[in-house]
């Protein structure tokens, strides 16, 4: 039994190692001047997509609910985080400190939305749940598209449709400006912070899965009726998985919004949700490391292929298909497991 536990531990450490390796590789490449501007610009988005994919995998793979509204939670996190950073510009001069608090606020706000959306949505199953989460994602996006929030004389003012509806006094300023969203959020996101957030995400998700709580979540996924019969509270654990997943997406949203000068709600449409789902499916449903790899590869790929203009999308599609086969075909899975086992045996020997 201990050998099985050790195997699991090594497996988890390997995942952290992979992330740390990426960080070191990037540092080495940029020290030797091998990083192009384009790739540099992708580093934070890659971290963001990894967090999104891993967190969505918690809902889709571990909890077994097909959610198509992940971008909505990201949106909530991005706006609440940026809002805080801009609002507190004078009160908290240190951008680092504001950013860290913004990350927490983004995560908490998204978790809150996870709970209030989860309560009605998790009563549904399968396709119905997918469609309703999709709808909620769109609702969040559309509301953010028309909302105006300003501040004057220490008071928050909220209005819909028009900036004029805010009735701000002369010394007031607008922070969220409808379809324009939030502009000029200071850039606080860096690759290193992104990597740290990825590691935090992995820590939360992996430790959750390998605990009493995670077992309950997976048991409910595998057989709801049996899970109830052994005394598990279905609603509690479904909601827990859903809101943890939402809060991590919210955190990714804050990372996103502090990386670009302008933040518009439009970006968080269902295409974004589907894209994240594609990463999860291609990396293997329930496979955390797979989510990381597919998010990295599929974000980098279009950029790396930029030189081959005409064939770009063709190659992208072929890679998608190959990844799908590598992760879903039984013989490919068996081959991969054999390889991994060999590697792990070597590792344990070294450790001993």
């Amino acid at each position: 039994m201990n050998s099985v536990k050790r195997k699991k531990l090594i497996d988890n450490l390997f995942t952290y190692g992979l992330v740390v390796f990426c960080w070191i590789a990037v540092q080495a490449l940029s020290a030797t001047g091998h990083m192009t501007n384009q790739i540099n610009g992708l580093l934070v988005p890659i971290c963001m997509y990894v967090i999104l994919a891993v967190s969505l995998n918690l809902t889709v793979g571990i909890s077994g609910e097909l959610s198509l509204g992940h971008a909505g939670f990201m949106c909530v996190g991005a706006f609440s985080g940026s809002f805080f950073t801009k609002l507190m510009a004078e009160a908290i001069p240190s951008l680092q400190a504001r950013f860290i608090i913004a990350l927490v606020i983004g995560a908490l706000t998204a978790a809150f939305f996870g709970v209030i959306i989860g309560i009605p949505v998790l009563r549904l199953r399968g396709d119905y749940l997918a469609i309703v989460t999709l709808a909620f994602g769109e609702i969040i996006k559309n509301v953010m598209n028309v909302i105006y929030v300003g501040v004057d004389n220490g008071m928050l003012r909220i209005a819909m449709e028009k900036k004029a509806n805010l009735n701000l006094s002369e010394n007031g300023r607008v922070i969220i400006e409808g379809a324009m969203g939030i502009t000029k959020t200071p850039k606080a996101s860096t690759f290193t912070i992104g990597i740290v957030l990825v590691l935090i995400t992995l820590f939360i998700v992996q430790n959750l899965i390998n605990s009493r709580t995670g077992r309950a979540i997976m048991a409910i996924r595998d057989n709801r009726i049996a899970a109830e019969s052994v005394g598990l509270n279905i609603t509690k654990y479904k909601l827990l998985a859903f809101s943890v997943s939402a809060s991590l997406a919210g955190m990714a949203g804050v990372l996103y919004s502090h990386n670009l000068a302008s933040l518009a709600a439009e970006k968080f449409d269902y295409n974004m949700s589907i894209l994240i789902l594609v990463y999860v499916v291609l990396g293997g449903i329930g496979n955390i490391r797979g989510s990381i790899i597919s998010a990295i590869v599929l974000t980098l790929l279009p950029e790396l292929l930029r030189g081959m203009n005409n064939y770009r999308m063709l190659i992208y599609a072929i890679v998608l298909i190959i990844m799908m086969i590598a992760n879903s075909a039984p013989s490919a899975i068996a081959a991969r497991e054999r390889l991994l086992e060999k590697f792990q045996r070597k590792n344990t020997k070294e450790a001993a």
Binding site: M1, V4, F203, I204, N207, L208, S211, R212, T213, G214, R215, A216, M218, A219, R221, D222, N223, I225, A226, A227, E228, S229, V230, G231, L232, N233, L240, G286
Partner: protein, 252 residues
Amino acid sequence: MNILEVNRLSIAFGGLKAVDNFNIEIKKGQLYGLIGPNGAGKTTVFNLLTGVYKPDAGIIMLDGVNVAGKRTISICQAGIARTFQNIRLFTEMSVLDNVKVGLHNHHRYGIATGLFRLPGYFRAEKEMDERAMELLKVFDMEQYFDYKAANLPYGQQRKLEIARALATEPKLLLLDEPAAGMNPNETTELMEMIRFVRDTFDMTILLIEHDMKLVSGICEALTVLNFGQVLCQGETAEVLNDPEVIKAYLGE
């Protein structure tokens, strides 16, 4: 002392009275059989006892407490555990984890303890591992502990369901056709195990079974159900010789 006393338990689906005025009394430590032709309402009785269905009428006294109409979770906590006619395992999880899920409410630690791997986590997980292995040993399954539940042979899956149910530390264990799909050797082995469970855990067991060899071999008392109604009740030998019962079984 009676662990279970059921009175006038009834449920109808549309016009069909699936269970009609069902009564039963089971003593602590008894091995009790519920038999009857296909569609008699046996599984429905289990579903009523465990709160999967809400009864239209009737009382279910478990160790002096009425649990009729309560939710499945509360009934599990009150002390009724079950297995399913069509096996319901946590298929993607390991055999050990299946049993550990059964231990969920008896070895608690908070979410934060699990997330941050505080000492309580290691302590509780160790206890759970040990307890789960003990239960697997009862069913001669310890060597399968790291198998995925879905990959177990059929007979082993049935036994794993019993081990998982026992993990919830029930007062009353309900087994729905535990020998279904087993070969005669496996059935004999299972009979031994059921008896062993009753003796070592001082367990009260109510089981549904079509295999008459198993029923007459281990059950001390029987209730025969026919078209949702109790046809006959009493000690095994008497019931099996009752002309009404013979008619219900052979008259089909």
